[in-house]
Amino acid sequence: MRAPRGSLVTWAAATVVGVVGVLAVFGPLLTPYDPDNGELIDALQNPSGGHWLGTDYLGRDVLSRIIAGSRVAAVAGLEATAVALVVGVSIGMIVGLAGGWTDRIVMRLIDGISAIPALVLAIAIIAALGSGLTRSMFAVGLAFAMSMARLARGLTLSERERLYVDGARVVGAARSRLLWHHIAPNVAGPIAVQATLVFASAITIEAGLSFLGLGVQPPAASWGSMLASAQRTIRHAPFQAIPPGVAVVATVLSINILGDAVVRRRRGDAYDHPTGYLEPTTIGPAGPASGDDAGAGGRRLLRAAGIDVHYGANHAVRGADLDIAPGEVVALVGESGSGKTSLAMALAGLLTPPAVATASEIRLSTPDGHHDLVGAGSDGQRAWRTHVGVVFQEPSASLNPLQTVGRQLGDVIRAQRRANSSSAEPTGSLGPAGSVDEQVVVLLGDVGLPRPAEVAKLRPGQISGGMAQRVMIALALAKDPDLLVADEPTTALDVTVQAEIIRLLRRLCEERHFGVLLVTHDLGVAGELADHCLVMFRGQVIESGPIASVSLAPTHPYTSALVSAVPQNEPGRPILEPPSTEGRVETAVDVEIETGVEDGEGCAYRSRCPFAVERCATETPVATAVIGRSEGERTVACHRAEELELPGARVVAGVLAAPVAKERL
């Protein structure tokens, strides 16, 4: 929809710029007449077969003069842009890197010069140096160099703070190397876009100066001087003004469109969705749920079966099944790229394009009935989301920095009340009793914030990361959710704060009896918080079961590797011991997680697995119940699960089992 139209305009613009470029380079070979000399007898003719665009007041061919003028315009644009780039970018980057007093003094000077319009500055310099194209374009270039310097300085200032610049300093790179080798390539994009704007403006200014007689001197042709001569004879030959006018407008417009296209390509989707908001995708139906039917349906809160998520060719989640009981914490554990977040967002109804999801069943059973997500439209999805609270990894990024915490929480409470009253089924504890403000304070108190009434008046920038995460949890609680999806809720926090948040979530889960889906890469966090866990690898749930049972006695080689890699506070150096290899040489490299490579046969883990046999390459293992476990539902997807004896977690004697900082809860 957008792409063809955008590209059509872009192609047209590129064609115009291309034609002007060709005319500028090969103009003298293409002009049908001498652009600078004509027969007075032929003066002021209208377009005809001999003179396609007519002749001017001296009988010169207008088409030939337009072609000759394109070279003048191109040279003018190039000269001004080159001056602006060389002068502006050098000054900007150097003062940007130097900072301090140099920066302040130079920038004030630049501010002063920028206050004079480019055209006026050019006229002043011409007044001092005399007229002529080269001099006037040099002046225009200097004027534009000021805005270029300001842009380059701003970009350099922000790049200077980036870690790679420190990295280069530490390696010993000198200042000039920092500037030209490290920073310049990273600021080139925006500067190139600015350069196209300068180029276009320089063409208009050249036309303006020549129109005034300050630029190209007669008899040489320029679009501006052609307009001036057309103006003199506008009553006798009004057509004369059109060709140079069209030439200027079309060229400048096309260059600007091309510059815009460059911006569009650099920013990608963000350009078309400036707020970053995408309507979530709906989840389509897949085949009927395989295997066991709703046997334990009575105590199930969430039942999800056969979930698949694709991002284009990348199969991010492969047929995942998942059950959550009320009051139960289920952890999705895996490395980055394992598909755990995609699965969780599918269950929260928050997957956004380009993700495509299908499932056999996703059903939430709440006291007021069953809710299905599969096949639900956007209304159904909205209804689903009123039952599901979500807590994200970066609390400060998820809160609006300009609104107070209390206002954001109040908005959610009001929206929830509207949703409840429209569905005409008042739900239990959080009925319309009490004002919104009172409920804000109650909720902030519930998540363990001291002096909640004061916290409600603060903005996100005024509270710590741990407090912000508590506010995020309060926002999720405001919906009185039946299911809480927590995506890496403690990853961005300090360890002591992490321990507090874990205790808070555990307490809330016991008090309110909602289900929690915890997404984490940290088996330790899962161990402290979850009851049940699903270990994911490349989109597949490769092992599941009660968390302690899985950690202590893993049956999948990947789970075993994961468990033994988690550092524990114990003597010795177990994580530094090479993992079990069974005769295979350990490859030092973590095998790259190649996304979307093989959708074919075989176990996804086989390239890293020390126990892989031929069968693993030909046959994809499916999740089967683990034999010989009395503890209940444990599944594993491994051909050799039964024969392998894998090491599990070492139970670490609590150095300090007593929980600290309890007073915060």
Partner: protein
């Protein structure tokens, strides 16, 4: 063992932003009279939470920030060096940062990333430099196949390996690891930790900066616990983590999540 680097009463302050009604605010003390010893042949850890000043102390040793007090590395007085420190000093102290995607220039290929310190510090010819880059890549478990990739085309663990190869290219005596394992998956972090431990030589030392005492206990020999800019406890890693003395260290250790929590095996949901 000999002390390779040390700081005495090292203090780093940053000016606070001026605000209305407070034109001359007191400076913010990021590191407060910290004294740390780093011994040759060992990995010393600086542990603390965000804002504890551990990274700032490392940046002082890298001569990236100004400080008062004294710091010496290999007998060189760091405080007397100019901000644009001489190459001889740069060669002795190198660093690996937390986020390799940010710490490696996104526009450069692996060949240039690892070749850059060689280009700056040695006069190897182009071909000899490339041979050395491949050697370095192999020493961190990568291969010549990775030469032409940019950091975006590598996985997290591979990026960190490239960062390590770049840092050890000039054979520094002190390697600073600023949260070098924090952004990695556990299995990757463990293999990078093995790599780092294997690179330690009797005459070199590493300063590991982190927040997780469990990692520190398994990877490092000594540890200094920092809080609000001050070193509150230091000693052998096994002793500090096994029998912490300071309340804050106890709090940090009590906060380490365990794989199996007390009574978890018995607890069943109702």
């Amino acid at each position: 063992m000999t002390i390779l680097a040390s700081t005495t009463d090292l203090t780093v302050t940053f000016p606070r932003r001026r605000s209305l009604g407070d034109w001359r605010p007191d400076p913010f003390v990021a590191v407060d009279r910290a004294s740390v010893e780093i011994r040759a042949g060992e990995i010393t850890a600086l542990v603390g939470e965000s804002g504890s000043g551990k990274s700032t102390l490392a940046r002082a040793l890298l001569r990236l920030v100004d400080f008062t007090g004294t710091a010496t590395v290999d007998g060189i007085d760091v405080g007397s060096l100019p901000r644009q420190a001489p190459l001889d000093y740069r060669r002795r102290v190198q660093a690996v940062f937390q986020e390799p995607i940010q710490a490696l220039n996104p526009r450069h290929e692996v060949r240039d990333l690892i070749g850059e310190p060689l280009r700056i510090h040695t006069d190897l010819s182009g071909a000899a430099r490339e041979r050395r880059v491949v050697e370095l890549l192999e020493s961190v478990g990568l291969s010549a196949d990775h030469l032409a990739r940019t950091s975006r085309e590598l996985s997290g663990g591979q990026r960190q390996r490239v960062a390590i190869a770049r840092a050890v290219a000039v054979e520094p005596s002190l390697l600073i690891l600023d949260e070098a394992l924090s952004a990695l998956d556990v299995t990757t972090a463990a293999s990078v930790a093995r790599l780092l431990r294997g690179m330690l030589r009797p005459e070199t030392a590493m300063l590991f900066i982190g927040h997780d005492l469990a990692v520190v206990r398994q990877l490092c020999d000594r540890v200094c616990v920092m809080r609000a800019g001050q070193v509150v406890e230091s000693g052998l890693a096994d002793e500090v983590c096994g029998a912490p003395q300071h309340e804050y260290t106890k709090l940090l250790i009590g906060s380490i999540p365990r794989l199996v929590r007390d009574g978890a095996a018995q607890r069943r949901t109702a």
